[in-house]
């Protein structure tokens, strides 16, 4: 039977993928760094340099606002090293008893940037009040360090009251700068190091360091990392003179270092339109791996739910219907939040899995697969249910009277007759998995090569100036895959309708 063969092939692929991952990365050789968004380019360069001299080590990195990362770590993200854009969030982890070692590594300055081709005259901070400026982008001034510092500086200058209405709050400092590049905001207050990475913005004003509390980037070796020699080695490497050079090249001031910053070099992003970069390939492969596993894992449950919904007459059916369809209308972020609660190492299921099997779900690709499975489940059930409804229930009755048990009748008559619909449901769910974003970023984070699927890669690239080509390349791939999936599921359902009509 075609269906069972497909199931076998798909599950084999998943097992191979899982096995391959386990082989290529022995536990002690894998390091996860969670790092403030403003350090993206420097840390990417550093981990590339580090693995060149330590080929047996893999360094994965996740970049977001320091606040988000700290909360993810507190929730049980398996991180080894944390580089925060302020001391507060390092203190936060310290209070939770998660910190083994820490040291102030970098400092930074705030600058006002405008678009490179902007005609606005901005010479001093007060110029932000002028008429041509309707939006000033900051990283979220309530929680993200860059935003907090910017707010302090503006308050110190007596400008906050007047400018507050113009403030556009971005998720992190990279996004704030991206708002200027895209023209959504006329100006932004960002770190000097971020401004240095883009030639699409220019620094209009440098804000005096005394205006805000000192901007310090503590690097933290987490308890988990302290137990792993590879993580300790990477932590030490971040403190080395070699790393200091790299940080300076990206516009940072290195603490306890008297040398002035070297001229910052704008990062030239890969501008090729053809071919995919290594990270893009990883995102693509990971998307398929996550999607396939999500489909295989939810298929048996979806078949059971679809069958019950198609055949049950009970009034209690609406409860099942509600549960099945909830992920369809729930904001994916809420779904992700619930999954994070359940599967985190402190949660009911995550704790049991970690304790008995040593399996980590949160911030691994398994977490991404679970998020995709849950979010795509309603689509799968819908298609399967319709397929079952199209099968005459009396065929099953005839099978029973011919000597087949309930399960036998289901597997020999009903399921084969519904197979096109079941396959269509799988294709739809797979396509939905490829597009999953909200729940995935909550449960699995955004770690290149580990949990960064195509939509997350698009999101990250969209926040990095100069990565437009990458964004559009990945977006095109998404559009093509989605269209193919729709055509395939439509074709399967139509084939079902025309054939076997007697």
């Amino acid at each position: 039977m075609k269906l069972s063969r497909a199931v076998v092939i798909v599950s084999t692929c998943c097992l191979l993928a899982a096995a391959a991952r386990a082989d290529e990365a022995p536990l002690e050789g894998q390091v996860l760094v969670l790092s403030a968004a403003s350090t993206t380019d420097a840390v990417d360069a550093l981990r590339a340099a580090f693995v060149k001299t330590h080929p047996q080590v893999t360094v994965d990195a996740g970049f977001a606002a320091s606040s988000a990362l700290a909360q993810q770590i507190a929730a049980g993200a398996p991180a080894d090293v944390y580089l925060s854009a302020n001391e507060r969030w390092a203190d936060f982890l310290d209070e939770k008893g998660l910190v083994a070692r820490r040291r102030d590594l970098l400092s930074n300055r705030l600058v006002v940037v405008v678009a490179d081709d902007s005609k606005l005259e901005v010479k001093r901070p007060a110029d932000l009040e002028q008429q041509g400026i309707d939006h000033v982008a900051l990283a979220d001034p309530t929680s993200v360090p860059a935003g907090i510092y910017a707010r302090q500086a503006l308050a110190e200058l007596g400008l906050w009251q007047d400018l507050e209405a113009k403030v556009v709050s971005a998720a992190d400092v990279r996004q704030a700068m991206q708002l200027v590049v895209s023209g959504a905001a006329e100006a932004a207050i960002v770190y000097a190091s971020d401004a240095a990475t883009s030639d699409r913005v220019r620094v209009a004003v440098e804000l005096d360091e005394s205006l805000s509390e000192p901007i310090r980037y503590p690097v933290v070796l987490l308890n988990r990392g302290a137990e792993r020699p590879a993580a300790v080695a990477f932590y030490d490497y971040l403190l080395s003179a070699e790393a200091a050079d790299v940080f300076r090249r990206y516009g940072f001031l290195v603490m306890a270092d008297d040398h002035p910053a070297a001229d910052a070099v704008p990062v030239a992003a890969a501008q090729r339109w053809w071919g995919l970069s290594r990270d893009e390939w990883l995102a693509l492969r990971l998307s398929f791996q996550v999607g396939l596993c999500a489909v295989v894992a939810s298929l048996p449950v979806a078949i059971a739910a679809g069958y019950v919904l198609a055949r049950w007459q009970s009034r209690a059916k609406w409860v099942l219907e509600l549960v099945v369809n909830l992920p369809l209308v729930l904001p994916p972020v809420v779904t992700g939040l619930l999954l994070l609660f359940v599967f985190s190492p402190k949660g009911p299921i995550g704790g049991a899995l970690a304790g008995t099997l040593g399996i980590e779900i949160v911030f691994t690709w398994l977490g991404a697969a679970i998020a995709s499975a849950v979010v795509s489940f309603p689509l799968m059930v819908r298609a399967i249910r319709l397929a079952f409804q199209a099968v005459d229930p009396r065929l099953e009755m005839v099978a029973r009277s011919l000597g087949a048990g309930r399960a036998d009748a289901f597997f020999s008559v009903t399921l084969p007759l519904a197979r096109s619909g079941v396959l269509a449901g799988c294709v739809l769910a797979f396509a939905r998995s490829l597009g999953e974003f909200g729940a995935t970023i909550m449960v699995a984070g955004n770690i290149v090569g580990e949990t960064q699927t195509i939509p997350l890669a698009i999101f990250s690239a969209g926040n990095r100036p100069g990565f437009e080509a990458e964004v559009w390349r990945l977006a095109s791939i998404s559009i093509v895959l989605a269209a193919l999936a729709l055509v395939a599921s439509e074709w399967l359902e139509r084939r079902h309708a025309t054939r076997e009509s007697t």
Partner: protein, 235 residues
Amino acid sequence: MNRLSFRCAHRFAGGFALDAAFETDAQVTALFGPSGSGKTSILYMIAGLLRPREGAIALGKQIWLDTRRGIDTRPERRRVGFVLQDHLLFPHLSVERNLTYGLRRRRGENSAIEASRVIEVLELGDLLARYPRNLSGGEKQRVALGRSLLSGPQLLLMDEPLAALDAPLKDRVLSYLERVVEEWHVPTIYVSHNASEVRRLAERVIMLERGRVVHSGSADELLLEGYSPSGDWEA
């Protein structure tokens, strides 16, 4: 011949109430009555596919259903062959696989019914490789009949097996039915509202109206009592 005894009461969601009791040991027993009189529901209850609110069904010494004692034998254990008006062949299986579906699921019962003989009597030899969608109405009905026989049934249930066929075809399939009865002597409950069919096949007739047995007796005496022998009940 094993005696079938039936006594069931059930109220359907639509309000229709069935409360019928009969016994028969005839070779072919007809359930005869207008549509909506409860004939088909009785067949489903005998087959174990519809559970009445209360009642008892037994074939010989086997108790299939006794709601008071909590007995309800599963349909696949009752070994009844069910032939319906619209044949209900499995569309995804060839004629051969349809025929052997029940055969492969026999539970070691001894049955005198052999595949080769069924294929011969019902003249199915040329159809084996085909699929249901490529069969005519009469052919489908013959395959459905063969499929039921090959499951080794203790009892055959036929729900208006000829109603969907046109007149000349009806006659041919009817003669196949007669052959089957002659050859294997499987007790048969035959539902119909066509008097001439009933007269030709059945020895015994149970007449139903609005969910109740209104009369029962031999085919000859009942059908001569005021019902046109050739036309339908409604005619």
